[in-house]
Symmetry: C3
Subunit: 482 residues, 3 copies
């Protein structure tokens, strides 16, 4: 099978079987590294890094060189072309006419999707803001798989900054798809974002439970848990057993502990940072002495700061340097596949616990825009040519997911495109949480995020349009509150 | 024929026949891209970018990789060696001892010439301040030629920032040489500099007309014209027909519209920028609906900002992404030729409408210096070793052209080197616009730009030395006023 | 013989015979440059530059390309990973798992040693702060050797900034090892650091003399001398002859003049810089007209600023551009050797004038730390995992040399680890310059740099612990005062 001409923007762009096939190719390549030096001869990889990164970029470039290909590289581009006001799409089209494959890192969420849409060549997302970093996820999964032979049924704990760590978001969905149980241990204030939890709860077959007061709920246990996702193949289903049984079950051991550093560069305020320094959980010898961690693999995407003690470096459970080293064969396999330089046979079967749902799209070119200020689609240079697009992931409460940054949010107002035909006095808008959401046919649905937006298009408030007070009328609500 | 060991500093460094031959090689290379991978094997290209650039640099590096060569690259060097006070010449000599060919971008006008003078290997100018960007011009010409088979007799309109856009300056001379008619449509305040107009008027065979009040002159016509250069092969000569006929003629159609962004990074003041935002002309669907543009190719060197609407991207007249893509085979052909890795046979003939004039040089090592503050020759690090040198492009009024930045200017004072031999009381200087300019023999001419300069060398004012008042006594006049 | 898997951190990492063999290989490679293009095929060199540098980096990258290898490159990394708080060791381990060899430049002294300790692949120091720059030294020696056939017995003058110029420090030891006489001509205030002088005086076989008032001592002579190191093979030994004889001897001619620019980026204060501008010695035609310089090779590691006049560029004695060009074959030979891609036979003999001394190590993990604030071992990110380590280079006065930055210093306090066993009242610390230094057995020696440090470990002052007054109690003394 060929993966030629495809892109890897989110981890969902590869099926479980494709990932398994890619892992086999990576195994093969790392066993015969010196034989790979002609695989991509004559091909050029462009690495475009709009954010500083040394490790990830060098890993990709090493991979391409090991395959015999060439590399053109633009580092920290923020200060150059962006300053001239150029759009990502233009850059993508131009570089796509030079190179055979593009690796992109960008601070805006959804930027990699835009590059993939316009480049005309395969594109690999090397991190787009707080959105995804799918090749890191492949390295993570590959390391777990190599050490434990499978991912299915394992218990994986996520540790630290689960809010801003993009590697975390890609990984959670991947673990769920492969049938792992996921334990969330965030630093206080750095919990997994709601849109991630939401997707995990609805699109994978397992059970999700969030703890109200994590510290109390699991007092004296392992380590404070904020939430847990239990794979459907687990013998203990959440719905049937009380909290206490889960804790007992967990005591049988954690298979892997995935530690992340605080992503301070994304913190909103200096206060957030200060607060954090006090409460950031540290993984050290003492923690790993607990019997639940006896056989726990310790993973970390690196760089580390203080959350992972140096004293663990020589511990056989420490996987983080192996994990980094394995990035090279994984990226070699990926590049060779997307360039069509290698083909693979898919394994006959690979369970997937993702439930693909065909959400209705919302694609009107006026009205609601993504309220995530880091979304690529709403940036000044990009909004000139990008048509906002969403998936309607829920009707009640009405919830949209941006196809660029994948943030979910509840827009405020709705209207219908048919009720006022010829009769301007019926051109009304209603609160999204009124009964009108049931009445408007999907194909007629118009969505606004603010009164002013609706009124700019000639709509008037109906009696079901509750006033929103406060200064953020035009901003919409961010995230999903339950 | 070989171009080995030559440099490309300005577009004039290649003859029309050489350019035609280079285009043929580019055609050949782009048709058999995969067969070029050994052409420059074992060769190293150094790309030295003292100014940020992603597109141009990656285009050159791609070209070298496609030829099988290697690349060493230094990006945004401004902050490093320059800060240590190193001269361009030293850098050129050192890097010339590492690499086989050098590509240089630098903010100072004339910097590429210095590198070419000292490197000892072929040098390609990838943009030196507002001076030239000859490989961009090659891409531009190549695109026009490929789409229209010839450049001779075409009508090409230049649009936007004609003042700071270095790609524009290279292009104007190239178009004139190849026999095109050139229409100038600057944004207000961003007209073509006088030294460019001057050269165009005197060194090419066509007729040049500037409009006093462009808006009025062509009211209701096409788009406001500031100046027009009519190729000598045009059936309608300017001298013979009134303005109105030209406009009629133009209505037969514009062959290409060359759009440029405002080069804000070179603007002198914030006011200049503000003013501009109001008046910068936009090329969009509406404009291109006019019948004069029915078959007009739309070119742009990219990056664009707002002057070129995204709605045109799918229009078959839009050439800008093709233009960028064609930069790779053009640069491949150029690199291969300058390295001597390829030879070409020149076409039997290629008309050239340039009239090579052998201007007298002015090379005294004291007296006048180039008054262009962006000229490489007057920078602190360079003036230590560079001897100023000029061409005397006109006697009355006395006009010099710097051989580095090619800026033209009228120096203020003159003297003679023979009149005072042995008799100090005759060591006098005169105004350059006095009758003395006719009396002094060229080989004796001494030129000063200020009184203090003249007096520092022991000259005293004659009665023909008019006083210049005001604060800029030492600065000289910049540009040419007519 | 193979040098595979070794690193080059300081010039002492290569024996004289190995250096001679490397020079032979460089000769061979530069004579058949085009035949080297498969020597390192399939190998990857990582160039990690934590400080700006164009010349050195491009020289290494050119060398690797000429050998047919590939390069991954990270430039000016300071702003990226370091900002995230990552340690050098982590970076080394990760990049060591990508590349086959690492070239590192870093502002911290000793940083290259850390990289070499952790990378798992050969490491080349391309400059670590003011410590060393051994490949520059190899280029320097190679140039002298090529022009004079030998280094033994030559008289080499060092000119300019001998304090901050790291190339100087490596070079001094190398010249001494190869049997040259070294003349020190520092700009005022930029004398060779004491720890360098100290090492030179004790570990090489020659005689060292420092002048108290250099200007007076050699008034009217050559140029002001600050110190002189006379090789043991010189017929005139310092001890036996008065100053005046040396000066006479020197008049027979200087073989090479090694000029350096002021390393302003390392200056402590703006005052230091201002002062310097007045007194920095300039090498120009006039100086070189003196008969002592008739056959003197002029070397400079480049970039130059004003200390070396452009008028010398065409002088046949000027070696600096050749020196830069020779960096390529030297680095090719070095890379090929360390990668094991080439082997060499060592010359039967090569005199060495270094006297290897097996200093006792001091490796307790508490107590004294290196007082050099630029030492890598004391930086916040590194001190988390690095155990300080010193050589005891002298007992009286007690003098330590840090194994990372090689700075020497005299710590203040000592104690013994056996005298207080079981009896806390004997747990006392003493002044390092008291008689206790003779009484404590080496294996029991504990060293502190401050009272507070000693007291923090439960030690109390003995009557032989002199109080140190002033604000820098915790800083220790820096450098060696004699």
């Amino acid at each position: 099978m060929t993966l030629a001409n495809r892109s890897l923007v989110t981890i969902d762009d590869l099926s479980n079987r494709e990932i398994e096939a890619l892992f086999s190719l990576a195994d093969e390549m790392s066993e015969s590294m010196s034989e790979q030096s002609n695989v991509c001869q004559g091909k050029i990889l462009a690495s475009l890094f709009f954010e500083p990164s040394t490790r990830t970029r060098l890993s990709f470039e090493t991979a391409m060189h090991r395959l015999g290909g060439r590399v053109i590289s633009a580092v920290d581009i923020g200060a150059t072309s962006l300053a001239k006001g150029e759009s990502i799409a233009d850059m993508a089209r131009v570089v796509g006419s030079y190179a055979d494959i593009i690796v992109i890192r960008h601070p805006w969420e959804g930027a990699a999707k835009i590059v993939a849409d316009y480049a005309g060549v395969p594109v690999i997302n090397a991190g787009d803001g707080g959105h995804q970093h799918p090749t890191q996820t492949l390295c993570d999964l590959y390391t777990i798989k190599k050490e434990r032979q499978t991912i299915k049924g394992l218990r994986i704990a996520l540790w630290g900054d689960l809010k801003y760590g993009r590697t975390i978001h890609s990984l959670i969905f991947a673990l769920a798809r492969f049938g792992a149980t996921v334990l969330f241990h965030p630093a206080p204030g750095l919990e997994v974002p709601n849109h991630v939890i939401e997707k995990l709860a609805t699109e994978y077959g397992g059970e999700l439970k969030r703890y109200q007061a994590p510290d109390q709920a699991v007092k004296g246990e392992l380590f404070p848990l904020d939430a847990i996702y239990i794979t459907p193949i687990s013998p203990h289903q959440l719905a049937m057993i009380p909290d206490i049984s889960i804790q007992v079950e967990l005591k049988t051991g954690v298979d892997a502990l995935y530690v992340t550093r605080p992503q301070k560069e994304r913190f909103a305020t200096a206060e957030e940072e200060q607060d954090l320094n006090k409460h950031y959980p540290v993984v050290d010898k003492k923690l790993l002495k607990q019997k639940e961690f006896k056989k726990t693999l310790v993973l970390h995407p690196l760089p580390r700061v203080d959350e992972l003690a140096y004293e663990l470096d020589a511990d056989p459970r420490s996987m983080y340097f192996k994990q980094a080293a394995r990035g090279v064969p994984i990226r070699m396999a990926l590049i060779a596949l997307l360039l069509g330089s290698k083909e693979v046979s898919l394994p006959k079967e690979a369970d997937s616990f993702a439930q693909k749902i065909d959400y209705l799209p919302y694609t009107r070119d006026y009205g609601v825009r993504c309220p995530n200020p880091r979304c690529a689609s709403v940036q000044e240079t990009e909004s000139k040519y990008i048509k906002p697009e969403f998936k309607i992931v829920r009707r009640e409460p009405l919830t949209l997911r941006c196809i660029y940054c994948e943030h979910g949010f509840e827009p405020r107002y709705i209207a219908s495109s048919d009720w006022h035909e010829g009769r301007l006095d019926t051109k009304k808008y209603h609160s999204a949480d009124s009964h009108w959401i049931k009445k408007i046919k999907p194909e007629n649905l118009i969505i606004f995020n603010s009164e002013s937006e609706a009124e700019a298009h000639g709509f008037k408030p109906s009696s079901y349009a509750k006033k929103h007070h406060g200064g953020n009328d035009d901003k919409g609500k961010r995230g999903k509150k339950r």
